[in-house]
């Protein structure tokens, strides 16, 4: 018994070492990437990938871990983006990171709280329908408020704040290199914190709700409250994405929060793998590159996307991340024998 246990531990620590090694290598590579591709266009592209990866991850928190489906999650990124955009454009002070960042996320939470409170009284499809209803309401509001938001045209030329610590400035968010590292830093922190939360006893409750909502309720969990907390976490992350997006692009438009955008995020998360947390980053990258690539061949890339979703649900419901996890687990179990 003791021999088996220590052998099992030996194998597991070896697997862990490989995992850590892989992530370390990845971080190393990402840190060096701007110097391998000194072109600011590519830096901005990868930065955008980080942001959408985080957005897809936030939907994974909602759907993959809490089991709540949203067709318009991009709306909360939009709210964050517009909040920051409006603040930086209209408020007559030097653009401030320390004011605009919390403001953007704060406004998202302010809206997500009552809406979420109403939504979690339902479940399943009713919940999904409500996300569409509210999402479309936000979109209409933004679209119609031409004077403030620029309506269809959106806003451009949004001032870019500097990243400051005390009186010392690290650089401007307008600088592609600085923005790249800033985004990488923020996204990494968000990922690690979220991962910790998911692995915590709190995260376990979310998983329980996803697996069997009724039973979770019957063993004593106030599922409405936990669903709301899971929802707030997901929306908070989406808000962060919105803020970063505005810093990066200096512009916002309603298309970032319409029905198509909502569907796109869902596809990214699905592609990457529900319930993996890291998978959606991969999914976002694949989706964005895939969309770009297919668009060069045909204008009917939506046909492929729809088909991809169907095939994923039918044959690879755990997405690519899930497949990789499964593959690794199989190797681990055969090695352990």
């Amino acid at each position: 018994m003791n021999i088996e246990k220590s052998r099992e531990q030996h194998v597991r620590s070896k697997e862990n070492a490989i995992k850590y090694g892989f992530w370390l290598l990845l971080m190393f590579f990402l840190t060096l990437l701007p110097f391998l591709l000194p072109n600011p266009f590519y830096m901005r592209l990868v930065t955008e990938l980080f942001i959408y990866g985080l957005l897809a991850m936030s939907l994974d928190v909602l759907l993959g871990y809490t089991g709540l489906l949203s067709f318009m999650h991009a709306a909360y990124m939009g709210i964050g983006a517009y909040s920051v955009g409006i603040f930086l454009t209209y408020v007559e002070i030097p653009p401030s990171l320390w004011l605009s960042f919390p403001l953007g996320v704060g406004i998202v939470l302010l809206i997500a709280l009552p809406v979420g409170w109403l939504q979690v009284r339902t479940g399943g499809f009713a919940f999904a329908l409500l996300t569409i209803a509210f999402g479309m309401m936000y979109y209409t509001l933004v679209w119609k408020s031409r004077d403030i938001t620029g309506g269809d045209d959106g806003m451009i030329g949004i001032p870019k704040p500097d990243i400051t610590i005390g009186n010392w400035s690290l650089g401007s968010t307008g600088d592609p290199l600085i923005m790249y590292y800033f985004t990488l830093f923020v996204v990494l922190i968000c990922f690690l914190v979220t991962r910790r939360i998911i692995q915590s006893p709190f995260g376990a409750v979310l998983e329980g709700i996803r697996e069997n909502e009724e039973r979770a309720s019957f063993i004593g969990y106030n599922i409405r409250r936990f669903k709301l907390l899971g929802w707030l976490l997901a929306c908070c992350l989406a808000g962060v994405c919105g803020v970063l997006f505005t810093y990066l692009k200096g512009s916002v438009s309603p298309t970032m929060m319409d029905a198509t955008a909502g569907g796109a995020v869902l596809m990214m998360t699905l592609l990457g793998g529900l319930g993996t947390l890291w998978g959606p980053f991969l999914g976002a990258a694949l989706f964005i590159f895939g969309q770009d690539f297919i668009s060069t061949l045909t204008e009917h890339w939506m046909v492929f996307m729809g088909l991809a979703v169907m095939l994923l649900v039918l044959f690879m419901p755990k997405g690519i991340g899930g497949m990789i996890n499964q593959f690794l687990e199989k190797r681990q179990s055969t090695k352990g024998e």
Binding site: R196, I197, Q199, S200, P201, F202, G203, A204, V205, E207, G208, R210, E211, N212, E214, R215, A216, S217, F218, I219, G220, Y221, N222, I223, F226
Partner: protein
């Protein structure tokens, strides 16, 4: 006679015009095994659903230790000590056996808002979960994903989850449904033992099993209680025999 821990008063449930449960008054003694038997469709599961907050009664009341719990939600009931199992397994299929029980134990012991701790560091919860697994005989299957368990093991887990909540009253809905002879015996012994330290309310089809282990039996037919009493009395009761005519295995 032990103190009455759970009782109902004139409990009624109507679906449309049909009375599923009619004017039902039942008293459950603490640390005793009360069984509810009756033919199919007698209203036993509906009664369970009323008492455990899954359904709203049309009228009537439910009391726990004297407190009115008629309109309490299921999670509140579980928190104060009323837990149930389901006739059709209601498990966390995608999670491991250990996690199923651990989750239930965590609901009772606490720790659900510790967002930055690790699950394995909740010592009390983990210890408690391990103990429950031993009690239901699943200690070797802790890391198995529930969807891969045999039916008998799933049924045992069904009980284990409710047990982990440390209930004062356990309502078991046909716990041995579909189990083999050996498995049924094992589970029956466990239930009998559990009745020493808490109130058990059992809905069952296996009349012989019920006769063997119950302290009190209530017989339901067509939504009403037609007989109540210890097993020997029920055995002799002609109303009960009538209700079961053709239903005996």
């Amino acid at each position: 006679m032990m103190p009455i821990i759970l009782n109902t008063e004139n409990l009624n449930k109507k679906f449309g015009g049909v009375s599923a449960v009619f004017d039902t008054t039942i008293q459950v003694e603490d640390k005793k095994l009360t069984a509810i038997i009756g033919p199919n469709g007698a209203g036993k599961t509906t009664f369970f659903n009323l008492v455990t907050g899954r359904l709203r009664p049309t009228s009537g009341k439910v009391f726990y230790k004297g407190h009115d719990i008629t309109h309490s939600s299921p999670h509140k009931l579980a928190q104060i000590g009323i837990c149930r199992t389901f006739q059709i397994n209601s498990l966390f299929l995608g999670l491991t056996v250990f996690e199923n029980v651990r989750l239930a134990k965590q609901a009772k012991v606490g720790g659900s808002y510790k967002v930055f701790s690790l699950r394995k560091n909740l010592k009390d919860v983990n210890e408690g979960a391990r103990t429950v697994l031993e009690e239901v005989g699943l200690q070797d299957k802790g890391s198995v994903i529930v969807s891969k368990l045999s039916y008998g093991d799933q049924r045992a887990l069904e009980l284990g989850i409710a047990l982990a909540c440390e209930p004062k009253v356990m309502l078991l809905d046909e716990p041995t449904a579909g189990m083999s002879q050996g498995e049924t015996e094992r589970l029956t012994n466990l239930i009998k033992e559990l009745a020493n330290s808490r109130a058990i309310v059992l809905v069952e089809h296996d009349v012989e099993m019920v006769m063997a282990i119950s302290d009190n039996i209530s017989v339901m037919n067509q939504g009403k209680i037609i007989a109540e009493g210890p097993p020997e009395e029920i055995r002799k009761n002609h109303l009960v025999r009538e209700a079961y005519l053709g239903e005996e295995d």
